[in-house]
Symmetry: C2
Subunit: 539 residues, 2 copies
Amino acid sequence: MSLTTHQVDHTILETYPPDSLPPDQIHSLLTQIKDYQSTHGSLLKVIDSEIPHSVHLQPVSVSVFPTVFPRRVFHEAIDELQLAYNELYGKIAEDKEWLYAVTGPLRKTEPLVDALWCVYEEVQRQRRKVQYIEQNVHAGLFRSDYMLHVLSDSDNDDDEDWIQSLCLKQVEFNSYSCAGGCHADKVADMHRFLALRGVYNCPSIDEKQDMRILPSSLPLNNTIHGIASLLVLAHKRYGSTPYNSAASHTAVLMVVQPNNFNIADERPIEYALWNWADDNPIPTYRIEWQDVLHRTQLTETGELLFFPPESGGRTPVEISVIYHRAGYEPQEYSDEIKGKDIRIRLELSRAIKCPSILGHITTIKKVQQALTVPGTLGRWLTSDKADRIRGTFVEIYSLNEFDFSEKIHDEKLTENYILKPASLEGGGHNIYGSDIPSILQTLLENEKSRAYILMQKIRSPQNIYGMLMSSSRGVVVDEVVSELGVFGGCIWEKNESSSGLDMIENRVVGWSFKSKERSLDEMSVVKGFGCFDTPLLVD
Amino acid sequence: MSLTTHQVDHTILETYPPDSLPPDQIHSLLTQIKDYQSTHGSLLKVIDSEIPHSVHLQPVSVSVFPTVFPRRVFHEAIDELQLAYNELYGKIAEDKEWLYAVTGPLRKTEPLVDALWCVYEEVQRQRRKVQYIEQNVHAGLFRSDYMLHVLSDSDNDDDEDWIQSLCLKQVEFNSYSCAGGCHADKVADMHRFLALRGVYNCPSIDEKQDMRILPSSLPLNNTIHGIASLLVLAHKRYGSTPYNSAASHTAVLMVVQPNNFNIADERPIEYALWNWADDNPIPTYRIEWQDVLHRTQLTETGELLFFPPESGGRTPVEISVIYHRAGYEPQEYSDEIKGKDIRIRLELSRAIKCPSILGHITTIKKVQQALTVPGTLGRWLTSDKADRIRGTFVEIYSLNEFDFSEKIHDEKLTENYILKPASLEGGGHNIYGSDIPSILQTLLENEKSRAYILMQKIRSPQNIYGMLMSSSRGVVVDEVVSELGVFGGCIWEKNESSSGLDMIENRVVGWSFKSKERSLDEMSVVKGFGCFDTPLLVD
């Protein structure tokens, strides 16, 4: 069996990755991974280690071997689905009525949802008073996350066509502050380098079973460039000449959380913009969320001026694009730090927002659930696109719209569903397995019930093994489950047509791939469960 | 005053770097430096932090601001001196008689010198028995270190022509396992990026004294590529087709010390070679010194075969070039690890050595001293080259060839000289200041005296200030002293002519620049004294 030909029979599931490598080969492999990560910034800051003149870092969790993934499915996500998803979410972001009907009811119980709608309403109120025209161009950097799903219940051990039995199901769609792109880019480079370097060659198991992974089996990942390219297009759309005569130039503003130990997922985008072209750097500044009010100024004509620390408070730059990498946690909108005022100022400005406040609201999980209601997608998409997207949906129920007692028994709930907060992204707050029935009962008995959705569990294929390495869990060889995230980027102009917008740019800007042990519920990289990975594409 | 024009009057000494930056600008600057280093591998492993699945890292010591350095002198070192130095040390490496006359007497007291000559002699003995021809092509990667020296004693505070009064004096010449090139490359990139980014703009001091540093004032540093390019040339000279039919391909072998916390100064060279060209990677492997005997094999026809861990002991590669980054400490030649056998095997092979054992011996400080003896340079160089090189010498005395009692009084010894071990490189074993007279007395009274040289202290210019940051010393603004290292690379073929060699390649491959507080004796980066820096070139 060889992986070099892209022709892989299903026996790969039994022999990959090799679990009996000689100790010196394992040692060499782990050392090469740590050293590659150390020299390429594939690192996290060690929490609480930063002092003014130093900081400690450690490698981010990664897979040791790339993990098997069907080529057909990988390309389907990238080539067929993402542009339709970009279009869908762009249009939802301009469909305020629908968005409010779906998410407005969450305001009573969900502080973040309420804060975002408060910001929206206050911005609308203030706009009526100002002299300048609203910025109608909006940008989006999205990430659609999928897992493999087994269509039938048959045991794929005996099924030679197991790859054919797999399809993509969406875990979640993120439209705000999507992370992981920079790490994914560097880890894919690493696996490709290690493959080029030959460290995955495993001749020791059995001469007839020589294994080689060629770099060509590992897809290229240029997500850092891709994300930057979308911001460059938005910046150019705004223009390089400031409207405000006090400003020296226009610039992208990346709004970030303070004390982030994960700067490795932010800084490379900033560097890519400054180094965009030798004679054409795209000036990019970072600002921490809590500094927005005293480091920026909104002019009467709507320009957002930013005063970089090195300007000595004298010469501002005018912000062309606001790239949000903060403002997704309820406490960021607290009165203490005037969080709503921060977001209102940013939103009111004529800078192009990536994304707008409505674009942000589309990321709420309740939206994902509402889209599964039959007939809904047709509101924005042609039927072919709607069909394609619908194919990635699992069943998702809203607690207050569904009679569980009749349809789902406790055992099925435990085995086949996940309970997720309707207002949050990410897996950190989900409820799994045997915790579900009792919590569900409590939820159904009080008003908070609408704050959760019940999502059908994706049926991941068995017998895909991986070798993972994380600073918290060590090196583990076990059955794994992978998640493919596809990064989409788009720029549109709002209009009064029935579609609500003119799409100016619509592109796939990259992908991420993470794997975790099958026995774990969460994919969290920060907790050391999820590991950045590269798909080893097989046919 | 502006640094943008390359016209800098001497008042820069009083105002650079600014010592009264606002706290938020300092905070932003330090954060940007730490983040840049963290994401570009400008790091050291924290000692004893490495475990199989993780490691901690911290930023290497760097200057916060680039440090002022005369442009004329910088170019003199690179454009005028290095090629002559390369030629000189190549020729010395083929002048065994002279080299033995100078360094042979150290064998009695200096274990490292003795070990190297033992290896040489044993290799000569064994070569007489073997069937194959000696490899006559040798490579060198050198680093010549200089400091600025004030020609006159006048106080440069009042001297507008202070730059004219400065010249280069050589601190030491290294011909073996020269370090610092990768760090220097990345730190120069960082300072150039920060300058592009505008963080050195200092408008706050005084509007008339706006300071800007343009990237064009900071020289480009491509040392990683430069070092790799020399190894590529040597590799091509050897050939990409193995002589040995069992070998799959030819490859560069980088011999390294185990558990090196400074892999950031080694790995980038390996990556540059593998990524040399898309369709033409130069295979490069690392081997730890103590693994050489069991991971390599010397064939009867002289090929050095290396068995990479991932080959499962089956398929060797044939080594084209041995790049030495280990084997410079006496204990590496101990009987316990069969250190001499390690070096003998490497030296006996037909691989091109970078450098050969004689090339290694030229790095001994006693050689540097012997070259200062009038008339010596003429043995290898034309008079114009000899004059140029001699201009970089300070007085250096060998203890057993000089009558100190007459010529140098204790006070002068303390103030104007440094006592250095004749057999070692680097500053870690030097004796400074008031320690000199008593130790010198002891040395003169016993046989060990020949193991030291007495070197005139370089008279560094005063009033050059810097801002340095290291994890051990924090952020310091103080008078600084800088050291410029110029990396040279050459390949030559030994012949029987009077010059001893045909020079095949002779080039400058890069530079490093380090600064330390003036009050410190040592430039050690590892101890947090020396900080990687970039010269801010001024006219």
